[in-house]
C-alpha cells in the first residue's frame, strides 16, 4: 500500500481576485488540500527550482495562461520538458475558450483545461479526484512486491 499524502495545490494566478475566488470556492466545496498562491509564472518556476520534489511531496498546479513576464503556456512547457517535474498534473485556467490555445496546451501535456468563471462544484470534484491519484505518480519505481 502506498501512503496517502495530501497534495499541495499551487495556484499560479496574477489576478489577486481570481486567486482568492479559486481558494475560497475550493475550500467551500470541501477540498481539504493546502494551497499556495504565486503571482506569476516566474515565481512558481523559482519555487520548483529551489526545491526538487521529493518522492513524498505531491503538487497539483492550477495555471493561469495570460500572465505578465512568463506566461502560463511557457511555465507548462518548461515543467513538461523537465523530467523532475513532468509528472506533476497541471490544470490550465483561462478566461477564453480559444480552440487553438486549448489544443496547444493539450499538446504540451496539460492534465485539464478550465474556463473561468468555473463551476466550483465540478472543479472541486475533479481536483479531489486528481488529488487521490497524484500520490501514485511520484512513488519511486521499485520492484513489485
Amino acid at each position: 500500500m502506498t501512503q496517502t499524502q495530501m497534495p499541495t495545490i499551487l495556484i499560479v494566478e496574477d489576478d489577486e481576485g481570481h486567486a482568492i475566488l479559486i481558494r475560497e470556492n475550493l475550500e467551500a466545496a470541501g477540498v481539504p488540500y493546502p494551497m499556495q498562491h504565486f503571482r506569476d509564472g516566474q515565481a512558481v518556476l523559482d519555487f520548483f527550482a529551489a526545491r526538487p520534489p521529493q518522492p513524498s511531496s505531491t503538487y497539483i498546479v492550477l495555471l493561469d495562461i495570460r500572465m505578465p513576464k512568463v506566461d502560463g503556456i511557457e511555465v507548462l512547457r518548461r515543467m513538461k520538458a523537465d523530467p523532475a517535474f513532468k509528472m506533476i498534473p497541471v490544470i490550465m485556467l483561462t478566461t477564453t475558450d480559444d480552440v487553438r490555445e486549448v489544443q496547444r496546451c493539450h499538446q504540451i501535456g496539460c492534465s485539464g483545461y478550465i474556463q473561468k468563471p468555473v463551476d466550483y462544484d465540478k472543479f472541486a470534484e475533479s481536483i479531489r479526484r486528481i488529488g487521490l491519484f497524484v500520490p501514485l505518480l511520484l512513488v519511486p519505481q521499485v520492484g513489485a512486491s
Partner: protein, 429 residues
C-alpha cells in the same frame, strides 16, 4: 460556256428574248457593266477606308509578315511605343519586349497564330523611354491559298490604367486583410481583458450572496431577548462582504477603464490630421518643459541632438513623443540615474528619430508585445492602461510613419520613429 436550248421556248418567249437582246445591243452592254462594277468597287474601297479610319482612331494596329517583321503600323502604335515609323518598319516586336512574359507565353502565341488561329491576350510592352504599357491584343492571321498565314494583323487596346488600377486594388485588398487580422487580434485581447474583471464581479457577487445567506441564517436564530449572536455576523460583515465589494468595485472600474481606452483607440481613425512641416526640436522642448517636474524628481538627464524636420500632424506626433518620454520615466532602472537621449537622421526621404534610455529594458520575447493593445510590462509596479504604444503605432501608421524598438534587458531601450522628411526648414509661427 452553256448554250441556251431555244427549242424549249414558247413562241411568245422567243419574241420577248429577242427584244431584250436588241435593246441591250443598242445601249453598249460592255461599257455599262464595267461602269457598274467600278462604282461598286469604289463604294467598297470607301467603306473599307472608313472602317480602317475608325479602327485606327480606336486601336493600336500593326501588320507583320509571316516571319513577324513589321510591315505596317498606325499612328497610335508610334504614339504609345514612342518609336517612329522608320524605327519600327522591318523590325520584329522584340523591340518593345518588356521581358515580363515567359518564353512559353510567346511560344504559345506563335504556335496559335502559326496554325492560322486567332490569339487573344494581355501583353506588357516597353516603350522607347523605358516605361511600360499594357495592351489587350488580338492577332488575326490572314491565311493564304496554301493554308499558311501570309500576314498577321495585330489590334491592340491600351489597358495600362486598368492594369495599374488592378494592382492598386490588389494592394488595398492585401492591406485590408492585414488590418482585419489586426482587428481580430484586438478583439481577442479585448474580450479576454474584459472577461478578467468580469470573473471577479461574478465570483465575488456569489460570495456576497453567500455572506447574505450567513447573515440571514444568523438573524433567524434570534435568541430570547431578540438579540442576534454577534459572533456569527463577524465573518460576513467584517471580512467577506468588504472583500467582495472591494473586488467588485475594482472589477467595474477596470472594465470602465478598458472600455474608455477602447473608445479612445477607435476614435483615432476618425481624427482629421493636419500634416505640415514640424520643428521637432521645438516640439521636444515643449514636451520636456511640460514634464519638467517628473524629470527633475527622477533627476533625469535628457540630451537632445538637432533633429530633422518631418511632415506630420503636430498634436498626434506630440502625443507619440510624450508617450515615449513618459515610458522612459516609468520604466527607469531604480539602481541608476535615468539618461534619455533623443537624436535623428534622414534616410531615403524618411526622418528617423531615436528615443534611447538606460532603463530596465525589454526582453526579446516581449518586444513585439509592447505594441499590443492593453499589454503592460509591469502591471504591479507601473500605472497606465496599456494603450500608449498601441496608439503611437496607429497614429504613426496614419501619417505614413513607423515605430519599433530595440532593447536589451538591464541596459535600456531605443524606440525608433520614422515620419516623412521635409527638406525645407519648418515655418516658425
Amino acid at each position: 460556256m452553256s448554250s441556251t436550248d431555244y427549242s424549249a421556248f414558247s413562241h411568245a418567249e422567243l419574241i420577248q428574248r429577242l427584244q431584250a437582246l436588241e435593246q441591250a445591243a443598242a445601249s453598249d452592254p460592255t461599257r455599262s457593266e464595267r461602269a457598274r462594277l467600278e462604282q461598286d468597287l469604289l463604294a467598297t474601297v470607301k467603306e473599307l477606308r472608313d472602317v480602317k479610319a475608325a479602327l485606327d482612331e480606336h486601336s493600336i494596329v500593326a501588320i507583320t509578315d509571316p516571319a513577324g517583321r513589321i510591315t505596317y503600323i498606325n499612328d497610335k502604335f508610334c504614339a504609345i511605343s514612342q518609336y517612329s515609323r522608320a524605327e519600327l518598319i522591318g523590325q520584329d516586336h522584340r523591340i518593345i519586349n518588356s521581358r515580363h512574359h515567359s518564353k512559353e507565353f510567346f511560344r504559345d502565341l506563335w504556335s496559335t497564330i502559326g496554325r492560322g488561329q486567332v490569339w487573344h491576350g494581355e501583353i506588357k510592352n516597353r516603350a522607347k523611354d523605358g516605361s511600360y504599357y499594357w495592351v489587350e491584343t488580338t492577332i488575326f492571321p490572314f491565311v493564304g491559298a496554301g493554308g499558311k498565314p501570309i500576314q498577321y494583323v495585330a489590334i491592340r487596346t491600351d489597358i495600362t490604367k486598368r492594369k495599374a488600377d488592378e494592382a492598386a486594388m490588389q494592394h488595398i485588398a492585401a492591406e485590408l486583410a492585414e488590418k482585419n487580422k489586426e482587428l481580430e487580434a484586438i478583439v481577442y485581447t479585448v474580450s479576454h481583458d474584459l472577461r478578467s474583471p468580469l470573473v471577479n464581479v461574478q465570483g465575488f457577487g456569489k460570495q456576497l450572496q453567500r455572506a447574505c445567506e450567513t447573515i440571514r441564517t444568523a438573524t433567524a436564530a434570534v435568541g430570547e431577548g431578540g438579540a442576534v449572536p454577534v459572533a456569527s455576523l463577524k465573518q460576513p460583515v467584517e471580512v467577506a462582504i468588504p472583500q467582495a465589494l472591494r473586488f467588485i468595485n475594482a472589477g467595474v472600474s477596470k472594465m470602465e477603464a478598458l472600455l474608455a481606452g477602447l473608445l479612445r483607440y477607435s476614435r483615432l481613425g476618425r481624427i482629421a490630421l493636419t500634416i505640415r512641416p514640424l520643428n521637432m526640436n521645438g516640439m521636444i522642448a515643449e514636451i520636456l518643459a511640460a514634464m519638467k517636474f517628473q524629470l527633475d524628481e527622477a533627476r533625469a538627464e535628457v540630451d537632445v541632438a538637432p533633429l530633422p524636420i518631418c511632415a506630420a500632424d503636430s498634436v498626434q506626433t506630440n502625443q507619440v513623443f510624450a508617450n515615449l518620454l513618459d515610458n522612459a520615466l516609468k520604466y527607469r532602472d531604480a539602481t541608476r540615474l535615468l539618461r534619455i537621449s533623443i537624436r535623428g537622421t534622414v534616410r531615403d526621404g524618411q526622418a528617423i528619430y531615436e528615443v534611447a534610455d538606460n532603463g530596465v529594458g525589454i526582453s526579446p520575447e516581449h518586444q513585439a508585445k509592447v505594441f499590443e493593445i492593453f499589454h503592460r510590462l509591469n502591471p504591479d509596479t507601473t500605472s497606465g492602461e496599456g494603450l500608449g504604444l498601441t496608439i503611437a503605432q496607429r497614429v504613426l501608421e496614419r501619417q505614413k510613419g513607423r515605430i519599433w524598438v530595440e532593447s536589451r534587458p538591464g541596459v535600456g531601450s531605443v524606440f525608433f520613429v520614422t515620419l516623412p522628411a521635409v527638406e525645407a526648414p519648418a515655418e516658425r509661427a
